[in-house]
């Protein structure tokens, strides 16, 4: 453990970020039709002419890679190669995009209308756009937006169209295809469709990866996909999926292109369109199947105010520089490049680390609104059971305190400084009036007592999704705070062990780069020392007198998660039998939690979130406290449990 001075150069306060421009302003002042029909001439990668989708398909079909896999499959299954070839063509037809400018123009027109009615502003960092433009001309580019809403990919294409940049091709989930007409519209606006699961299907994988690589290598268009794999229902970043990232890095690793530039994009919504939809889904009210009519019904959302959107195009990351000194590319020299191979352990860990870095880059540039801080405060208050709410001026004072704290931790907070704090607070509250209630100058969450637990939970989970936006800012300090809280002494080693345990346990829940425990610990120490909360000496970690408030806040930040994991653990100990299957797990634990909530043994309704339940189960599996047997059965492994849980219980007991 090096001294925390090492972090002095990385002071998060000093992060330089670009300014934003509102693109809707111009839309409000000039004709949308003219905009939709504007002359669109994007600068291309090294002047490569764009490629028709039919030509792209034939390039993929003729590739050596695909030929090889077709031969292999035909040999293994005894099918005729023609037959396999046909299947390949069918897969490709199902997958391929067919970008058409006319559709794009149609979207440009309608989206302008929709955006203007939904949002106050859509703010974009134009310097980021300029960097992207340069990157597109010099290198194959991969766009990695965060994924919080269906809106994301339409918004991305809309922005690139607005700034006259090459439109991306976007990896979209097959479920969109269910929407007959809309699916085709998306296809014509540059989406290509991939099946949700094709684990064992070698042929599908080959077509898919060759399709993406062909686009990328030739630089026909930026490739866009969501590193998190799916929309985050909780507004926390999801653990990155590596499949596509592996594919887009492959051409560089095999020397087929000089470099690939990856651009993390952070899209932050002041109010998420799917807000309550997500909460319901997490609570087990099944998500409506994507359908055109469903989308049509959803149009009532159009009449509401969703605040503003901030889109931050991050610094392009060169895969070459990521790989420098990490990957020995010579390993690819001994096998012909058209033979697909499983990535080696070191490649896998390289891609994994890169994925975490990129998700953290997304998190870093997420714009936080004051409401995010208010939601955090209100949730904490609700949990300790303040029935009559908090006085507005008290809430304002706390919000200002939290504003300063979060800024010191490097949060990208958009706090309108031209307004007084109380104005800021009240305007935030009014935008989210569905979630909060103000009466007689007291503010609290809009929970009606007579309401059912599940309806209350919808509100809590919606609120939690806003708090979660700020989690990455507080995560490391909060882990340290909880560790100090749980550790039996002030010994630095003890605190570190406790920190390391918590961090390890939560690594399915939050974005915590594997193997970076020491760095995270140092970062947390650095931040807490800098803000006067702690003193860290060679041997000890001491809490300053004025640090208790911060520490208490940080501990409360993690508490719902800690309690949630504890409940899941208790459930597994008390109720799980050998016959519990994975399918039954969620309903069973939900019942268990409701029981505890009603009995008042559990304070946090947000523990009902199936996301948390799944993550905790995955964590226990990973830690070996639980074991999967005979495919889907879950059984407790007592010796392991005995080994792990006391430590955890010790942690929990102290909270």
């Amino acid at each position: 453990m090096a001294s925390s001075n090492a972090y002095a150069q990385r002071d998060p306060m000093l992060k330089k970020r670009d300014d934003f421009e509102d693109i809707l302003e111009e839309r409000r002042n000039s004709s949308d039709l003219r905009y939709a029909l504007k002359c669109y001439t994007p600068a291309l990668y090294k002047g490569v002419a764009p490629c028709k989708s039919s030509m792209l398909k034939s390039m993929v079909l003729q590739s050596d890679q695909l030929h090889y896999v077709i031969q292999q499959v035909s040999k293994e299954t005894g099918r005729q190669t023609d037959n396999v070839q046909e299947e390949v063509s069918a897969i490709l037809d199902e997958m391929a995009h067919s970008l058409q400018l006319s559709t794009v123009r149609f979207f440009a027109f309608t989206l302008s209308k929709i955006f203007k009615s939904l949002f106050k502003s859509i703010r974009v960092n134009e310097e980021g756009i300029q960097r992207l433009q340069q990157a597109i001309q010099d290198h194959p580019v991969v766009l990695l937006p965060s994924h919080r809403s269906y809106m994301d990919f339409l918004l991305m294409s809309y922005l690139l169209y607005t700034y006259d940049l090459t439109l991306p091709v976007i990896a979209a989930g097959m479920d969109f295809m269910g929407m007959k007409f809309v699916g085709e519209m998306f296809r014509m606006s540059g989406a290509f469709f991939i099946r949700r699961s094709f684990g064992g299907n070698k042929l599908y994988w080959a077509v898919f990866s060759e399709y993406v690589k062909t686009m990328l290598k030739n630089g026909f268009a930026p490739v866009e996909f969501f590193l998190e794999g799916t929309r985050s229902r909780t507004s926390k970043s999801l653990i990155p999926k590596l499949g596509l990232l592996n594919i887009v890095m492959d051409p560089f690793l095999k020397g087929e292109v000089f470099d690939v530039h990856v651009v993390p994009v952070s899209i932050s919504y002041e109010r998420i369109l799917e807000e309550t939809l997500y909460a319901r889904e997490l609570l087990g009210i099944p998500k409506p199947k994507e359908s055109t009519s469903g989308l049509f019904k959803a149009r009532k959302v159009l009449s509401e105010d969703y605040g503003s959107i901030h889109v931050y195009f991050g610094q392009p990351v060169s895969v070459r520089s990521l790989a420098e000194g990490r990957v020995n590319r010579c390993q690819f020299n001994l096998v012909p490049r058209h033979i697909p191979g499983r990535p080696d352990e070191d490649i896998h860990s390289f891609v994994n680390d890169s994925a975490y870095k990129l998700v953290r880059a997304q998190e870093d540039n997420m714009v936080l609104k004051p409401w995010v801080l208010l939601a955090s405060l209100l949730l904490q208050k609700q949990a300790v059971g303040q029935e009559q709410g908090t006085a507005l001026d008290e809430l304002t004072a706390q919000a200002v305190w939290l504003r300063d704290l979060s800024r010191q931790y490097g949060a990208f907070l958009h706090w309108p400084d031209q307004m007084t704090p109380s104005e800021v607070v009240s305007s935030s509250l009014s935008l989210h009036r569905g979630l909060v209630r103000t009466c007689e100058g007291k503010v609290q969450l809009a929970l009606e007592h007579e309401e059912k637990l599940l309806s209350q939970a919808v509100i809590v989970l919606s609120c939690a999704s806003y708090r979660n936006q700020a989690l990455h800012v507080f995560l490391r300090p909060a882990l340290l705070a909880s560790a100090i809280h749980a550790a039996s002494s002030n010994q630095k080693q003890e605190v570190f062990n406790s920190f390391s345990f918590l961090r390890n346990m939560f690594s399915n829940e939050f974005i915590l780069c594997p193997g970076a425990t020491v760095q995270d610990f140092e970062e947390a120490c650095y931040l807490l020392v800098k803000t006067g909360t702690l003193q860290v000496t060679q041997k000890e970690v001491l809490v300053n007198e004025r640090g208790h408030r911060t520490l208490a806040f940080l501990v409360s930040m993690l508490d719902p998660f800690l309690q949630g994991y504890q409940v899941v653990c208790r459930f597994l100990c008390e109720e799980a039998t050998e016959t519990l299957t994975e399918k039954q797990f969620i309903p069973a634990i939900r019942k268990f939690i409701i029981k505890h909530l009603l009995a008042g043994r559990l304070r946090y309704a947000e523990v009902l979130s199936s996301d948390l339940q799944k993550n905790s189960l995955a964590a226990f599996l990973r830690l070996g406290a639980v074991e999967k047997i005979k495919g889907y059965q879950i059984s407790n492994v007592s010796p392991c449990l005995g080994g792990k849980l006391p430590t955890q219980k010790a942690v929990v007991a102290r909270l």
Binding site: M59, Q62, S63, D64, Q65, K217, G255, E256, V257, F258, D259, N328, R329, C330, F332, N333, P336, R337, H338
Partner: protein
């Protein structure tokens, strides 16, 4: 009639070829007469086929530059009118004005005729450390009668090859560790005596052939405290016998390429081994570095040509007992010798395959719309195994460079024709002048077959969009390989430093995309990026060409040069970029070297290239053959 025409062809063509070779390799008339007088007593008998014409005197500085490439009388310069001119009489281009060169240099490097960085005109003898002589060794050496010298100029001349950093230092008048003594053995037995004495007195020996190394192989190791003796084989330059039945010839290893070819040609034969350095590089050097010749497609590389080798090592002489064309007798001991880079001993005599001189030779060239198509064509030619004697593909930058080196056209008519050609290719055929590239070809053999072969190759080229671009362009391409080395000296006069380096790489086809192509693009891009990162103001000249084709891959040559004005330590920076470029080559599946060798420059990558065990194998051979590290040049391992 056919035989008649081919007969007359054979008579007409051989002299023509001779003229061509003589054209770019005109031999100096006044070679050192004193040397030939010193006959090797042991061998100087009837076997001596030809020992008259020697290109290389003992005092090399009499005809060659001490701090640059090639002959003293030959160089590029800007004359009083500001036009580039190639001096001397030795080459076809000699005495000609090259009008476009100045503009090309200014445009490519941002050079300015006012800003010169001239070399120190003469060697300051005081800059050279006095020799550390091993008196006992020198005493005994005297008694053998082998000529030697410890003159400063002689020693400095043998302390370097032609790496950029070596020449750069010489131009600044800086001299590092140099050999303490130079000896000129006259024959195999002289070498045996020298090696015996060196072992007896623990003296370090560094074999020296033509001095054209580009791998720091001739640099004296800084840490060497023993007396260093340079064994200059240049006087061992006889063809000892020619065997027309077996088509072999036996030579002393010091003979340089141009002498070997000329002397064999006089008897109607050739070896066909023509490395670009053949004017100066020696047979022994080729063997010691695993050299490759431009016409390897017909004649093979050095490992295909060598039948028998004699090498003097500290343990004694190593050689095979017979000259059978192939043997199954365990690992081939020739392969310990070939590529040993002077770490095991001195190659003294070599038996090589020879061929009757080709009766007909024809140059050619093909223009391709882009480099990708060109590479695809070369790959197809290799696949059909119909590569001409030589086939080389230059990229667009080199094509333009070649254009800049066109001499002044003598007549209105030629210039009109040139213009017409350009118009046809760029306007009529729609080739983009910033993309097109050129392949140069050399066909050899019987006239009829050559013409047939030519048609086959042009047909393949046409499939890849290639247009035949005439004999002249091809011939000029090959001529330029000999004069191009002189250009670096001109560049260095104007703050431009550069180097070439090579690799071999598998074809590895991926839907018209080849690893060969990828490596070219990536290495060029890496060079440009490294230079940018290191603060080079003007984008570097970074270009490549494919110079050899094989069944399984190709040899790629890179040229890299930039303007170093304003940089504080250009050589260091240059070496860093070169290092990065080599890393890039290796990462992209290229080899450490195709024919330049490892020397000291590329030693760092040897282990990962041949594996730990491979390294151990090489080390154990070295430990057995030379336990006291008499051949202590420190190359390779």
């Amino acid at each position: 009639m056919a035989s008649n025409s081919s007969g007359s062809g054979s008579q007409g063509r051989a002299p023509q070829r001779l003229r061509i070779i003589a054209g770019h390799l005109q031999r100096p008339v006044d070679v050192d007469a004193t040397v030939s007088a010193a006959e090797c007593k042991a061998q100087g008998g009837e076997a001596d086929v030809a020992s008259d014409g020697k290109s290389v005197p003992k005092r090399r500085q009499e005809i060659m530059k001490w701090n640059g490439w090639g002959y003293s009388d030959t160089k590029f310069l800007f004359n009083k009118k500001g036009q580039a001119e190639f001096t001397g009489k030795r080459y076809k281009l000699s005495g000609m004005i090259i009008p476009a060169l100045k503009e090309w240099m200014e445009g490519t490097f941002g050079t300015n005729m006012q800003h010169k960085s001239l070399a120190t005109p003469a060697l300051t003898r005081t800059a050279v450390q006095p020799p550390t002589l091993n008196e006992a060794f020198v005493e005994e050496l005297k008694s053998t009668g082998v000529p030697f010298s410890h003159d400063a100029e002689d020693r400095v001349f043998r302390a370097h090859g032609h790496c950029l950093h070596e020449i750069f230092a010489l131009r600044e008048g800086k001299v590092g560790r140099v050999p303490d003594l130079v000896v000129w053995p006259n024959c195999h037995n002289d070498v045996v005596k020298i090696v015996e004495l060196a072992c007896k007195h623990n003296v370090c020996l560094i074999p020296y052939g033509g001095g054209t190394s580009v791998s720091s192989a001739l640099e004296c190791p800084q840490e060497e405290t023993r007396s260093i003796v340079s064994v200059d084989t240049s006087q061992m330059n006889r063809i000892l016998w020619i065997d027309e039945k077996n088509l072999t010839a036996h030579m002393e290893a010091g003979i340089v390429g141009q002498d070997l070819e000329r002397l064999l040609n006089e008897s109607g034969y050739c070896t066909g081994h023509e490395p670009d350095s053949m004017e100066f590089s020696s047979l022994g050097g080729w063997v010691a570095t695993r050299a490759s010749g431009m016409k390897k497609n017909i004649y093979g590389n050095i490992e295909d040509l060598v039948i028998h080798v004699k090498m003097v090592t500290p343990q004694g002489v190593v050689e095979k007992s017979c000259q059978g064309p192939r043997m199954s007798t365990g690992p081939d001991i020739h392969h310990f010798i070939m590529g040993s880079e002077g770490t095991l001993g001195v190659v003294t005599e070599v038996t090589m395959k020879i061929r009757p001189m080709p009766e007909y030779q024809k140059y050619g060239s093909v223009v391709f719309p882009n480099f990708e198509q060109g590479v695809a064509c070369l790959r197809e030619v290799a696949r059909q195994r119909c590569a001409p004697a030589s086939i080389r593909l230059m990229d667009n930058e080199q094509f333009k460079f070649g254009h800049a080196l066109k001499p002044q056209v003598s007549s209105m008519f030629t210039s009109f024709l040139e213009g017409l050609k350009k118009f046809y290719i760029t306007k009529f055929k729609g080739f983009d002048p910033d993309c097109l590239c050129v392949a140069t070809l050399l066909f050899e053999g019987n006239r009829e077959k050559v013409l047939q072969h030519e048609k086959q190759v042009y047909d393949i080229a046409a499939k890849f969009g290639g247009l035949a671009a005439g004999e002249d362009n091809g011939q000029r391409g090959y001529m330029l390989t000999f004069v191009i080395a002189y250009l670096r000296d001109l560049g260095m006069d104007y703050y431009v430093i550069g180097e070439s380096f090579e690799t071999s790489v598998p074809w590895d086809s991926v839907y018209y995309i080849f690893r060969v192509l990828d490596i070219c693009r990536n290495v060029k891009a890496r060079i440009i990026r490294e230079c940018k990162d290191k603060g080079v103001q003007f984008q570097p000249f970074s270009t490549c060409r494919v110079t050899q084709t094989y069944d399984a891959g190709a040899c790629v040559y890179f040229y890299f040069a930039f303007n170093y004005r304003g940089l504080s330590d250009p050589v260091h920076m240059f070496e860093e970029v070169e290092h990065a470029a080599r890393e890039e080559i290796l990462a992209n599946g290229g080899s450490l070297s195709h024919h330049h060798g490892v020397g000291k420059l590329r030693k760092a990558w040897m282990r990962e290239t041949v594996s730990d065990v491979g390294m151990g194998m090489l080390k154990s051979v070295k430990d057995y053959v030379d336990p006291n590290n008499i051949f202590g040049n420190g190359n390779l391992l």
